[in-house]
């Protein structure tokens, strides 16, 4: 039986309150299409039954699954050319100088999905330290990737990609340099991959366990979130980003209306959010 307006509204409210995801008017159909498999999996015959199951579950696992289902994870290597040129020319030298001066640098790839963003960054870092003839600097850099989905994190940890995934933005020279073929999969440099730690993590949780960072990438995820959750998330990101360091969002994503903890600047189509020195 198709879901009624009442059931949609119930579920929409749940998704907004518990998952921090806002569904625009007219996007209600997404509720049913994205949750259909989960409803079968949990043996729920109607959206209302599913809603009550989600409401009453204590572990939070179903809530995470709903959040994951409502957010699509499309990942690319080096997504958005101007940004990666900026990262290569400005961010990486900044991070390496910092690693030299302060002894350690920590980077967060939040909502890392299957790892392409973290590994893209690592390839650039690897090239940069070699160019500077300071390969030992790489030991001072720690990259953490988080995602809400075990499937995604498993793929990220395995660092194996299908030819489909490889076609999405990976330049030929990087493919030759950092990947080898195993069966029909492409395997990322197994030594290099050890430098990234992937963790199962819901952005709604407390960030205290993550530590502080010198660069945060949190791209193409806030787009789904409700205003309340955006506000909360940006303030948590401000807490863990060191002063003077940069937060990078997806193209078109903005924190302007939600926090004043960052200075916003523009560099050739790239928007940067720099953590202010003093918290206001």
């Amino acid at each position: 039986m198709p879901a009624s307006q009442y059931e949609f509204d119930l579920m929409k409210k749940y998704i907004e309150e518990h998952c921090g995801i806002y569904l625009k008017q007219g996007k209600e159909y997404l509720v049913e299409s994205r949750l259909n498999d989960l409803m079968i999996e949990t043996a729920c015959k109607s959206l209302q039954e599913f809603y009550f199951k989600a409401q009453n579950e204590k572990s939070g696992k179903l809530k995470d699954r709903i959040t994951d289902a409502m957010t699509t994870n499309e990942t690319f290597w080096f997504r958005d050319d101007p940004l990666w040129s900026y990262i290569k020319e400005e961010t990486i030298p900044f991070l390496l100088d910092r690693a030299e001066k302060e002894g350690s640098v920590r980077i967060l790839s939040a909502a890392a999905s299957t790892g392409q963003e973290a590994y893209s960054l690592l390839m650039l870092l690897d090239e940069a330290v070699k160019l500077r003839r300071t390969p030992e600097l790489l030991d001072k850099i720690e990259i953490i990737g988080t995602d809400i989905s075990s499937t995604s994190i498993f793929s990220a940890i395995s660092a194996r990609y299908s030819s489909f995934a490889m076609k999405r933005g990976l330049p030929e020279d990087k493919k030759r340099k950092y990947f080898s073929k195993s069966g029909d999969a492409w395997v990322y440099d197994q030594e290099l991959k050890k430098r990234v730690t992937f963790k199962l993590f819901n952005l709604q949780n407390s960030f205290a366990s993550l530590g502080t960072f010198d660069l945060i990438l949190c791209r193409y995820v806030v787009i789904y979130f409700s205003d309340t959750f955006k506000k909360e998330l940006f303030s948590k990101l401000a807490e863990i980003l060191k002063p003077g360091c940069v937060l990078i969002l997806g193209a078109g994503e903005s924190l302007k209306d939600y926090t004043d903890a960052f200075d916003i600047s523009y560099h050739n189509k790239v928007t940067l959010q720099t953590r202010k020195q003093e918290k206001k």
Binding site: K61, S150, T151, I153, S162, D184
Partner: protein, 284 residues
């Protein structure tokens, strides 16, 4: 097109029959009154199979100590009936569907065998009951058989269908359903049900290996184990050889089986070993 395919299936055509030696072996193993001597006789009727079993019992994977195993009865005794059955199924089934085919049948069977073996390794990290492992192994071997059935019943149509897969990033079973009105899970299950007569739990797993959340708890566990093993083999680069988007595994299957990301690295290693083992078996 569904009706046409089902009609062809009911006539069987040149679809391979279930190997007689496996049928007898299944019967005997299930019969509490049968003896090792009787089982030995059944296997002996197939000289290639008995030779391979002897070879395997002296190989690195199944090595039974320094003493060379020269008699089949000793191999059966030492390996145990469960392993003998699994080896017999592995060797006989992977010899089927080898007529000129649109698929690379060696790659196909390497995948199926890798899934079967991976399911056994993977079970160590899960809460799956031990008595299901044998069913899981055989289900792993047969899980994609519907793809072979497609390519036997409608070879040209299936081949042109395979060429369209590259265009979209969507799992094959969805595309098959759109295109033919039936997917390889259902077709494989119907084929086995009608012509092969194996344990119904195997048929259930074949039918639901891409969406393993139907049926009894045991049926779901078995289908979930194969779903994850299948996804792991795809992820490792040892898919069934069809150039299309391959899913990893279902999040719910991973969770329900009690798998943990802290075991990810050793699971990846185990899958790699399972693939090596499959390659060795296929050389026999």
């Amino acid at each position: 097109m569904r009706e046409m395919i089902l009609d062809l299936l009911s006539k069987k055509g040149d679809l391979p029959p279930f190997p007689e030696v496996l049928r007898k072996l299944q019967e005997m193993i299930n019969d509490p009154n049968s003896s090792i001597a009787k089982i030995e006789k059944v296997i002996e009727l197939d000289p290639v199979l008995s030779g391979s079993i002897l070879k395997l019992s002296n190989s690195a994977f199944y090595g039974l100590g320094r003493q060379k195993v020269e008699k089949l009865s000793l191999a059966i005794n030492k390996l145990g009936l469960k392993t003998i059955k699994q080896i017999a199924f592995s060797l006989k089934l992977t010899g089927l569907f080898n007529k000129k085919n649109v698929l690379n049948y060696l790659t196909f069977w390497r995948h199926s065998l890798s899934v079967a073996i991976s399911s056994q390794h993977l079970s160590r990290y899960t809460n799956i009951p031990k008595q299901l492992l044998d069913i899981a192994y055989l289900s792993g071997l047969m899980h994609d058989v519907g793809i072979m059935v497609f390519s036997y019943l409608i070879p040209e149509k299936y081949e042109s269908f395979l060429h369209t897969l590259e265009e979209k990033e969507e799992p094959i079973q969805i595309r098959e359903k759109e295109h033919f009105g039936i997917d390889h899970q259902e077709l494989g299950a119907l084929f086995i049900e009608k012509w092969w007569k194996v344990n119904p739990k195997i048929i259930h797993t074949v039918r639901y290996h891409h969406f393993p959340f139907q049926g009894t708890e045991e049926e779901q566990q078995c289908a979930q184990l194969i779903n994850v093993a299948d996804g792991l083999c795809n992820n490792s680069g040892f898919s069934n050889g069809i150039d299309c988007f391959h899913e990893v595994f279902k999040e719910g299957a991973w969770e329900n089986l009690g798998l943990s990301l802290s075991d990810a690295e050793s699971i990846i290693e185990d899958v790699r070993n399972a693939v090596d083992q499959a390659v060795e078996l296929l050389k026999l």
